[in-house]
């Protein structure tokens, strides 16, 4: 008796629907802002979508709510099974890179869910971006099931299911404006605290303009940069960032030069120079960091960028800060 219960519990199939509720949308919103980062989880296991039969397709995904919800909502009106792997709440692409969306977990999950007894076919449809972690030939050898890599985006699945062939367009990752915009909130959250500290410290020691300048340089890196990425010149993110940071710093330098007429001329000139030196590297550093969010920069390329530009960033920023301290000290002494 106990045995059959355990058996049934192990092989239970949960129900899933294609409807995205208000609660789901709230969860997506929080996830996008990096709030409760570890809690956007779906229970791993097998889910029935609609009224699947023994011949219905099986779709594999990660146990991150954004991944699972993108899949189930794309499959509206389609009867099938969703096999959710335990990726610790990480999306397919990152989990595959880490190996948690991987061959071992997939083979293991197939066994745990008793998938062999539930369907009569042997095909599994995986998201293409899961291929970084899953070796299709090994899955076949170890489980007998055949991995079929579907399109990159879940929304292309209905079209894909008609022919079981992905067009080149479905196979390509893209990084369009919307793809980049959704990444901005979490980037913002990451810089919020350091930005607030920099703004407060600068306000007291260097004044309002310097405080606003720090905020502008940081926001340029995390907000403007992702938006403007394809239109900024050169291929290197650091250079793109330096250019953007320079453009943002320019009005601050001009404002300082022309600004408060009561200040001594050399002090205004040095402050203008400080803005031009210290702001661009901040933006450039944040821009370089954004490589990790893109689906096209290679590790060896990022490493080359790092060795080429991080020293330049450190140097220009360092000179700017030292100059600022010197000016503040000289003026402080003059004033007292």
């Amino acid at each position: 008796m106990v045995h059959t219960d355990v058996h049934r519990a192990r092989f239970s199939v949960r129900k899933a629907s294609s409807t995205i509720t208000l609660a789901n949308r709230w969860d997506h919103f929080l996830a996008r802002w990096g709030i409760k980062r570890n809690q956007h989880l779906v229970e791993p296991g097998l889910y029935a979508l609609g009224n699947p039969t023994k011949d219905s397709p099986i779709f594999v995904t990660a146990n991150y709510t954004l991944s699972f919800d993108a899949l189930r909502s794309a499959l509206r009106g389609i009867d099938g099974y969703i096999l959710v792997l335990d990726t610790k709440g990480i999306n397919v692409w990152c989990a595959a890179g880490k190996g948690t969306f991987g061959t071992d977990e997939l083979v293991n999950r197939i066994e745990l869910t008793g998938l062999h007894n539930i369907v009569s076919h042997r095909m599994l449809i995986l998201p293409q971006l899961g291929a970084t972690g899953v070796a299709a030939h090994e899955v076949k050898r170890r489980s007998g099931l055949i991995v079929e890599y579907g399109p990159v985006r879940a929304m292309d699945l209905p079209e894909y299911l008609k022919t079981r062939r992905a067009t080149p367009e479905m196979r390509r990752v893209r990084f369009n404006l919307v793809d980049r915009l959704v990444l901005i909130p979490v980037e913002l959250v990451h810089v919020l605290l350091p930005m607030a500290i920099a703004a407060v410290v600068l306000f007291f020691f260097a004044g309002l303009l310097a405080s606003v300048a720090a905020v502008a340089a940081i926001l340029a890196g995390v907000l403007l940069f992702p938006i403007l990425l394809p239109w900024l010149p050169t291929s290197d993110f650091s250079v793109k960032g330096f250019i953007l940071g320079g453009l943002v710093a320019f009005p601050f330098a001009v404002r300082m030069l022309l600004g408060s007429a009561d200040a001594i001329w050399w002090s205004r000139a040095v402050w203008a120079l400080i803005f031009l030196l210290a702001m661009p590297p901040v933006t450039a550093y944040l821009a370089l960091n954004f490589t990790g969010s893109t689906p096209f920069t290679s590790k060896s390329g990022v490493r080359r960028e790092m060795f080429a530009y991080v020293p330049v960033m450190a140097l220009t920023f360092g000179i700017g800060i030292v100059l600022a301290i010197v000016v503040i000290l000289i003026q402080g002494m003059g004033g007292s």
């Binding site: 291929a131 990790g292 490493r303």
Partner: protein, 107 residues
């Protein structure tokens, strides 16, 4: 000039290829194309070193030093002198964090 992404670690030996076509299927940048007898390395420069082709190549005709280009993790490693943690398939902790307090690389 000003392009650090012109070369990468992707290596392909057509002599080992059995033309199963997997590399062309899994590549999100059309680096590989299906060929008549073997897969064709069409756009080597577009490779982002994700490693999907290597992992799904049953004859080990492809090798690539894979990992996401996570600058924050690399910079941390360079500064602290510790081993670089990446999102690579074989490493333990990573910038995509099991701990979830990850950097921006996992969106």
């Amino acid at each position: 000039m000003l392009n650090s992404y012109t070369s990468n670690t992707l290596q392909y030996d057509p002599e080992l290829c059995n033309n199963c076509g997997m590399c062309a299927i899994v590549c999100p940048h059309e680096v590989f194309e299906p060929g008549e007898r073997t897969a064709q390395l069409a756009k080597s420069q577009a490779c982002m070193e994700c490693g999907a082709c290597q992992r799904n190549c049953p004859t080990s005709a492809i090798t690539v030093d894979s990992g996401v280009g996570c600058a924050a993790a690399m910079i941390r490693a360079a500064l602290t002198g510790k081993k670089e943690v990446t999102c690579g398939p074989t490493t333990g902790p990573s910038c995509c964090g099991g701990d979830g307090k990850a950097g921006s690389c996992c969106g």
